[in-house]
């Protein structure tokens, strides 16, 4: 099983190249002084400059970030409560149907979510704009938060809860001093997932933006429909660097955690 053939490595490299080629292609042309992605003319930072001098785009970026932060914050709060609620439901059938309902928005195609929310907001007489988008982002981020937290709740040894009561803790104290700290990793990864979901969303937002408010995804879509503009290339370079930074940080964090675990085990063995 552990033997690697040359063919396998070539294949893997090829797939990697295909995966990254379009991204680097975008980045490459962000430095071209021309206005197409066909021929590189001369090196320039012009498109980056244009990006920074485009107050509309900067506002959209800030709006998108604000929207994502708010949406994931609220989704994390609702999702945490939801996970706590689902976890304490004893009856298996009720629990399973709650879980199925929870997952509907996760498995539903974006178009359906967008269309049905459009009907919902129109039905409720709610005008489209920042708040309709925010509400819909909160809505589709809740289930992933629940799913990230539930396993952490399941991992908690029930005797820890008994122990806390035994030592005199009230229900509220058990929650704040034992359960919440223990599920914090789940809450954080839920928040993080919600953030990516919100930042990445195009379809639902597209249905619900109305006039006046737009997010980065929708803006990129409408610009891309109008044709090539190397300003978008510059933007994608920046977004790529941003994700790269996050991934590197995440990688080292998980490596660090693993090493600490291993070190702890080593300590135990030598004792």
């Amino acid at each position: 099983m552990k033997k690697k053939s040359k063919f396998e490595l070539i294949y893997l490299t090829l797939v990697m190249i295909v995966l990254y080629f379009p991204i680097f292609y975008l980045i490459y042309f962000s430095f071209s002084s021309g206005d197409s992605m066909s021929y590189f003319e001369s090196f320039t930072f012009d498109h980056y400059q244009a990006l920074l001098n485009d107050p509309r785009l900067i506002r959209i970026v800030l709006d998108t970030i604000l929207l994502a932060l708010l949406a994931s914050l609220f989704a994390t709060m609702i999702g945490t409560l939801g996970a706590l609620y689902i976890h304490q439901v004893k009856k298996k059938s009720v629990r399973n149907s709650l879980l199925s309902l929870n997952n509907i928005l996760l498995v539903s195609p974006d178009v359906i979510i967008g269309a049905s929310f459009l009907i919902l907001f129109t039905f409720a007489g709610f005008s489209l704009g920042f708040y309709s988008v925010l509400l819909s982002h909160i809505a589709f981020c809740v289930p992933i938060v629940v799913l990230m937290i539930l396993p952490k709740l399941k991992e908690i040894n029930p005797t820890l809860i008994d122990a806390a009561y035994d030592l005199g803790a009230s229900k509220y104290k058990v929650l704040s001093a034992i359960i919440l700290p223990l599920i914090t990793p789940g809450i954080l990864s839920g928040f993080f997932m919600a953030l990516t979901y919100s930042l990445d969303d195009f379809a639902v937002t597209f249905f619900l933006t109305g006039q006046g408010f737009t997010t980065l995804s929708v803006e990129i879509f409408s610009r891309a429909r109008r044709g090539i503009s190397l300003e978008i290339n510059a933007l994608s370079t920046l977004m790529f660097l941003f994700s790269l930074l996050l991934v590197i940080g995440y990688y080292f964090l998980s490596r660090y955690n693993q090493n600490r675990k291993i070190n702890n085990q080593k300590k135990k063995v030598t004792k």
Partner: protein
């Protein structure tokens, strides 16, 4: 001494219909070391969980210091528990684990510090205050769990199979420390275990449970010397149990012979179980023995030999001998009349005591 915990006619039935406890009565006095001993599924942990307040009861009542606490929630009871898996909070270090109960009571910082240090001293881990739980060994976790419980100065400390996760050597050491700690603190310990040796070594008094009932209770020697029935005899220590017939008072017949014994108060020709402890059997010359057996095997166990033998009728005998014998050898087995313990079939502990009182011993 004053009764601290009393369970009156307590029954516990789970939602699935399983009856964990049936009409259980028990009294626990303050300042003693109790063990609740039984095989798994006997209901011993249920008793503990009911006293701690983690399980409610289906019927009956629970008293603490003569006060009915049947419906009192766990966080208001003056008992603390040492859990089988220790249940130390993984996100808190040793100090914060031990201080957990005191902080909930909003005790001043200085007092908390002092009490935690004191508790760590009592479990002999004074230097471990800043350790993380993941850095502790099994034995250390065990002691921190005890410290976390005793720091709250409970009147009763409940210990749920607390030593079962430790290896044998550590267990012996912890048994000794538990006993010392109980003497030091002067509070009641209720120790749940399935290990009879542990129960015999530690306890002032033992409750033996099976199938949701208390089968026998008493001091270690009482139970060892006078098991009320076959279950107790087999569960406590090793024994030779054979079927017999009580001819008349002080005379019992088994393996085809009639022997003088110390038991009385039964009907004539009543079928009984006869118990002979392996350490009460002595190997001697064939013509000096009450039974003649052939040695089948022997094993050296450090302080004695465990000898397996078979008599002329094919009954197997387990004998603890001080000297080595050779396999295949024919030897005599000698025992005194007091070494024969006769048990009536299906006799309860109450009937047993009444009979003993009537006829004396």
């Amino acid at each position: 001494m004053a009764t601290i915990i009393e369970m009156k006619n307590v029954s516990k039935r789970y939602d699935d219909g399983f009856e964990a406890l049936t009409n259980l009565n028990l009294k626990i006095e303050s300042g003693k070391f109790y063990s609740i001993l039984g095989p798994s599924g006997s209901g011993k942990t249920t008793v503990l969980r009911i006293i701690a307040g983690f399980s409610d009861i289906t019927s009956g009542a629970l008293y603490f210091d003569n006060q009915n606490i049947t419906d009192m929630p766990a966080n208001q009871r003056k008992v603390n528990t040492v859990f089988q898996d220790y249940a130390l909070f993984p996100h808190l270090n040793v100090f914060d684990n031990i201080a957990f109960g005191l902080k909930l009571k909003k005790r001043p910082k200085e007092e908390i510090k002092e009490k935690v240090a004191n508790a760590l001293e009592k479990v002999r881990l004074p230097q471990h205050s800043d350790r993380e739980i993941s850095e502790l060994s099994g034995g250390q976790k065990q002691r921190i769990a005890i410290a976390r419980a005793i720091v709250n100065e409970p009147k009763v400390l409940l210990l749920d199979e607390s030593l079962s996760a430790l290896d044998k050597k550590l267990r012996k050491d912890m048994q000794y420390q538990l006993r010392r700690l109980q003497k030091d603190l002067g509070i009641t310990f209720v120790f749940v275990t399935h290990d009879q040796e542990e129960a015999l070594a530690l306890s002032d008094e033992i409750f033996i449970m099976n199938e949701g009932k208390i089968i026998q209770n008493g001091t270690a020697t009482d139970i060892y010397d006078e098991p009320v029935n076959r279950f107790v005899a087999e569960f406590i220590g090793e024994s030779n149990i054979v079927d017999g017939v009580m001819k008349v008072d002080y005379s019992v017949e088994f393996v085809g012979k009639t022997f003088e014994c110390a038991d009385a108060g039964m009907q004539q020709n009543e079928p009984v179980h006869v118990v002979l402890r392996p350490e009460d059997l002595d190997i001697t010359l064939v013509d000096e023995g009450k039974l003649t057996v052939t040695i089948v095997s022997q094993m050296f166990l450090g302080n004695h030999f465990e000898v397996n033998a078979v008599d002329e009728d094919g009954n197997q005998w387990l004998i603890h001998a001080t000297n080595s014998v050779s396999v295949g050898q024919k030897v005599g087995v000698y025992f005194d009349p007091e070494d024969i313990h006769v048990m009536r079939i299906g006799e309860s502990q109450v009937d047993f005591h009444n009979r003993i009182e009537e006829y004396g011993e």
